[in-house]
Subunit: 344 residues, 2 copies
């Protein structure tokens, strides 16, 4: 009935505290008190207000509240790809911590694109999120300086921030990769290939460094042709793996730089006669059910997310001082594929 020609895109003319106050025959502020459970309202008044709220279907407008109070009780999470199984547990862990602190989670994927990361981060800052958890795609985060100065708490996860000083939570990528490669060496391998992500990605670079360190410590050479960096797209990885296995000095084992690489390598090896050893960075579901089961360097994605989120809220609760670099250890999980002996 009061349906005018077209409400011209307002959110449906929701009732406000003013409407509730009018209906209950009380002042605006009294409604506010009831809604927020503040003291100083008689039971009778409270009841009248509650009835009016019920009758009108009133719901407090948190946008206005945020404007007035200055805090949004929400944090932003920027990650690389929501669909990547590695990030599922991580974002779930961040969400749980946020929930425990009464905050909502706003998130988005950067798709590994630095510009898109920046766009997303700034959009979140414009929403005035209280804090940010960022898995960086880019390597220059100076654009965040005004935000940091303005008090937006920020914690980087999985990869460090570039060119700014900020808290960061990492896995021990270097040590994990070194352990994994050393494991292969201990099982007799001398020619070991490495397939990893783009070199500009911190985790990829660290893992490569770990690979080289293990080889060097064992006094083994590293042929250029044994190292393949670049995309983790299946076809790229597939051809890289095939090249490693067919050159003049074919490798007898492969260290895979992350879960997506590992999976593709498993597919390549499955078509092969000759057994080739494999250790992958990142655990993944069903790794134990494959034949051979896949030996991995496991990092705890949930722990990574939980630690970062807790650090963030610690900051929001006023923790002062130096930025921290927290590094979580990794764990070698031997399952079979990493214990195969070398076969030429």
């Amino acid at each position: 009935m009061a349906q005018t020609a077209r409400p011209e895109y307002r959110y449906g003319n929701r009732p406000t505290m003013k409407d509730v106050a009018a209906r209950a025959g009380v002042g605006l502020k009294t409604v506010s008190r009831v809604v927020n459970g503040e003291p100083g309202v008689t039971p009778d008044t409270e009841r009248r207000v509650q009835e009016a709220i019920e009758a009108l279907g009133f719901r407090r407008n948190d946008s206005a509240r945020v404007l007035r109070k200055g805090r949004t009780a929400s944090i932003g999470l920027v990650l690389e790809d929501l669909a990547d199984p590695f990030y599922g547990p991580l974002s779930r862990a961040v969400e749980e911590v946020a929930r425990a602190h009464g905050a909502l989670l706003i998130n988005g994927s950067s798709a590994e694109d630095p510009d898109r990361e920046q766009e997303l981060v700034l959009a979140l800052c414009a929403r005035r999120v209280d804090g940010l958890v960022v898995i960086p795609a880019g390597d220059d985060h100076r654009y965040l300086e005004p935000e940091l100065k303005a008090g937006v708490a920020t914690v980087f996860v999985d990869r460090p921030a570039g060119r700014i000083d900020a808290d960061v939570v990492l896995s021990d990528n270097f040590g994990g990769a070194r352990d994994g490669v050393a494991h292969l060496i201990a099982h007799g391998h001398r020619r070991i290939g490495f397939i990893g992500d783009k070199a500009r990605i911190h985790t990829a670079a660290e893992r490569l460094r770990g690979y080289r360190a293990a080889m060097t410590e064992a006094g083994l050479p590293v042929h250029d042709s044994w190292v393949a960096l670049g995309s983790t797209a299946p076809d790229r990885v597939r051809s890289a793996a095939e090249a490693l296995l067919s050159g003049p000095e074919p490798v007898t084992a492969i260290f895979a730089g992350n879960n997506r690489v590992t999976v593709t390598v498993v597919r390549v090896l499955a078509d092969l006669e000759r057994p080739v050893a494999l250790v992958g960075f990142d655990d993944f579901e069903l790794a134990d059910l494959l034949r051979p089961a896949v030996t991995v360097i496991a990092q705890d994605a949930a722990q990574l997310g939980r630690t970062a989120a807790e650090r963030l809220f610690h900051r929001l609760d006023g923790a002062p001082g130096m930025t921290q670099r927290i590094e979580l250890t990794t764990r070698l999980v031997p399952r079979g594929s990493g214990e195969l002996p070398p076969v030429n």
Copy 2:
């Protein structure tokens, strides 16, 4: 230096348009015009404003903007568990559509708890999200009525809404399960077990119905002991599977009601001498690499999310009319485990 005793938890006293205006020596509204790219500002004025913005590190406060404009350019996504691999591609698809429409995504997990779902949904409504995509955990959504009336567009995915009329996007759970079980029957099986999720979950109920339909159509009986519903927790599923396989009338094939069940059943079967056929609802990564590779009824999670999000924005763009029920077909992917012959 201007660091007062304690800024008492305001977000760091960020510069406002007023500050920018003062610094640039222009009026407040002129700054607003520049920030929003509105016409009617001379290049010279615009430059002065831009410089002031740069110098102060100004960033528009979207909370205030939202309050004034009435739309938040954000949508809420409530799902069951971010860490479940089924929901990764789904939420990623929703995010991409949101992004294409210039909206941010706020999300949370209900953890399959109806109360938590309601809490989350209402929190999102208080934020005045423009719309909601909900994978419901509960079966009574009347609490959403005031919101719907107020114009919050809502689309349910994967499972229908309870006791309210709303758009919904589903997979053909009934047909998919029927096809899968018929496939087993076509390969000679007569005693087929079903392991599924809690019966109150719509998808689980529909898939069970499909199972029964296929059996009935083939003139086969269904023993009570062949049907196990309840939790998808690995130990529950494990003992259910063991019971199916060891009773007086042991089954020769199992239909698994979702991806988590399938994975656990695969583990149980791996320890077994006797080959048991298996078809699972939901595809999952590496299903093709297991031995035998796992035959599944695949539903397209990304397509589910994309369809729902597009329907949502269609509504937000003013699409009137009846609520829709969109049902996406499933696809049988034979890989080996579903084609095993019965062995007693």
